[in-house]
């Protein structure tokens, strides 16, 4: 059963997975484009390069979010078209089917993760690092894996939800933005932005999106 679900999911998500893998492979390599002749370069030069590397590094959690979004939403697109009737009339309990789809999606997620890992290793090997600067290809890959999995789980859950739940989520988001607009128009002094507060809650531990925050650098001191 799992094999067939995986196969079906792969056939539906082939293109996005390959695209994500290509991007995941390329990003670490981008961080070393300006890395020639660093071994004995002056500190400022190294500092500049590290800063540039971190700029690119910010894109990696973005990619994790994208991977989670595409594979999470994509997992249920074929079923949505038929209003889930096919899945509901198979002799498999609903919970089991959800698990199968999740496992298949997570398996496909491994492809861009591995691509990132390979890219990171290649990038690390292609540059001779100055003293004091280390490369963290494996840590970066592991972090990317976790982040994509969390994002995948979130979007997977949203995708499977009924129309009502999805609309409710959308409604909450709109409500938050609206609250901010109202507060701004009332010009209350020192009023904290509602959006900012929600963002803070989500992105700081134990908020679910906290995993995307922080420094994402392949090379660091």
């Amino acid at each position: 059963m799992y094999r067939q679900v995986l196969k079906a999911q792969w056939l539906a998500a082939r293109l996005p997975v390959v695209l994500l893998a290509v991007l995941a492979f390329a990003l670490p390599l981008l961080t070393v484009t300006s890395g020639s002749g660093l071994t004995n370069a002056p500190v400022e030069r190294v500092g500049q390069w590290l800063f540039a590397a971190q700029q690119v590094g910010v894109l990696i959690p973005g990619l994790a979010l994208l991977a989670g979004l595409l594979l999470g939403i994509g997992a249920w697109v074929p079923d949505h078209a038929g209003k889930h009737v096919y899945a509901l009339t198979l002799p498999v309990p609903r919970s089991m089917f959800v698990l199968l789809r999740f496992a298949a999606g997570a398996t496909l997620l491994a492809i861009p993760v591995v691509a990132l890992g390979v890219g990171a290793v290649v990038a690390t090997l292609s540059v001779s690092l100055p003293d004091g600067v280390h490369a963290y290809p494996l840590q970066l890959t592991a972090r990317f894996a976790m982040a994509s999995l969390v994002c995948f789980a979130i979007f997977f859950a949203i995708s499977i939800a009924t129309k009502r739940a999805a609309l409710a989520t959308l409604g909450v988001i709109c409500g938050v933005l609206l609250a901010d607009a109202v507060l701004a128009s009332l010009s209350i002094k020192d009023a904290a932005s509602v959006t900012a507060s929600v963002f803070y809650l989500l992105t700081n531990w134990p908020g679910p999106l906290s995993i995307l925050m922080g420094r994402w650098a392949l090379f660091d001191v």
């Binding site: 059963m1 094999r3 067939q4 679900v5 196969k7 079906a8 056939l11 539906a12 074929p78 078209a81 038929g82 209003k83 009737v85 096919y86 509901l88 009339t89 198979l90 002799p91 498999v92 309990p93």
Partner: protein
């Protein structure tokens, strides 16, 4: 007597209006049961209730001896379902779709599936989205028959298919039925098709089961009778009076449950039977619906 499908006091409502009321279906094991009813009578809703896709407001449903929805997975393992609208994944090829489906059913007969595919002339590597309506219809019946299920639930399986494809689908279905003792529950508004293959018929109108009879009784039992000298008021009758129409000096009575000896009753009220006319299933069905909607005065 064991029933493949049995419902008791089943009711369903989505919104204010009751779609299904007091439904008591009894589908005998091994029978080919035709579920007849006009469009919008609640046939598809009933099927969705039977397969656990909808939750009833009231009542019990037992399929293959097990309670719905408690043992749904077990029931579905032995049930082949062909929905009104195709619900397979359109981006899969025919071969991929068959393999996917097969993975979920223990006793799936790949050889039988291959046999049917060849006799239906379905191409292996065609994407489902490129299949014609007829080919899709054939694929659906292929998948459920290859499961070798104990129960087949078919929701308008030949609707919208051309006559040649309809024959192929029905032939395959009957071929399967002759091999074993599967029960078939087939809903359709194509009365003539059901007439040939069903041995039981249940008529649904406006969410209520109007009648449930062996096919032969249903067909033979409904007659149009030309009567002369009939009284204006009618008391108890040995048959069920569905309709009465006056044409000139005579009346035409449409009755259910007619048997020839009942002609004596007419003599008893001073009337005479001029002619007893047979109705085919379609005509009988129409008369039954007319009478159930506007009870006879």
């Amino acid at each position: 007597m064991s029933y493949a499908i049995e419902t008791f006091d089943l009711a369903y409502r989505a919104g204010k209006h009751f779609e299904i009321r007091d439904l008591g279906l009894k589908v005998r094991e091994g029978s080919i049961y035709g579920f007849l009813g006009p469009n919008g009578s609640g046939k598809t809703t009933t099927i969705r209730l039977l397969l656990g896709m909808l939750k009833p407001v009231r009542g019990t449903i037992t399929v293959l001896g097990r309670k719905v929805p408690d043992e749904m997975a077990r029931i579905l393992a032995h049930t082949g379902y062909v929905p009104e609208r195709p619900h397979l994944y359109p981006y899969l090829s025919l071969e991929q779709a068959v393999r996917y489906h097969a993975a979920f059913y223990e006793g799936f007969d790949m050889a039988y599936a291959g046999e049917m595919r060849r006799s239906f002339g379905l191409p292996l590597d065609q994407k489902l989205s490129h299949l014609s309506k007829g080919e899709m219809g054939k694929l659906h019946i292929l998948l459920v028959l290859a499961q070798r299920p104990n129960l087949l639930v078919l929701d308008e399986p030949t609707d919208g298919l051309d006559p040649v494809v309809r024959r192929d689908v029905l032939s395959a279905l009957l071929d399967f039925c002759s091999q074993g003792s599967a029960t078939v529950f087939i809903s359709s508004h194509l009365v003539h098709e059901l007439e040939r293959i069903c041995d039981w018929v249940g008529v649904l109108d406006n969410g209520k089961l109007v009648v449930e009879l062996p096919m032969q009784s249903f067909k033979n039992g409904i007659k149009r009778i030309r009567v002369s000298g009939a009284p204006s008021l009618v008391g108890d009758t040995p048959f069920v009076l569905l309709q009465r129409e006056t044409t000139g000096t005579e009346q035409v009575w449409v009755v259910r449950g007619w048997q020839p000896p009942m002609a004596v009753w007419f003599q008893g009220v001073g009337a005479a039977v001029k002619e007893v006319m047979d109705l085919d299933l379609e005509e009988g069905f129409v008369e039954l619906l007319r009478s159930s909607r506007a009870p006879v005065s």
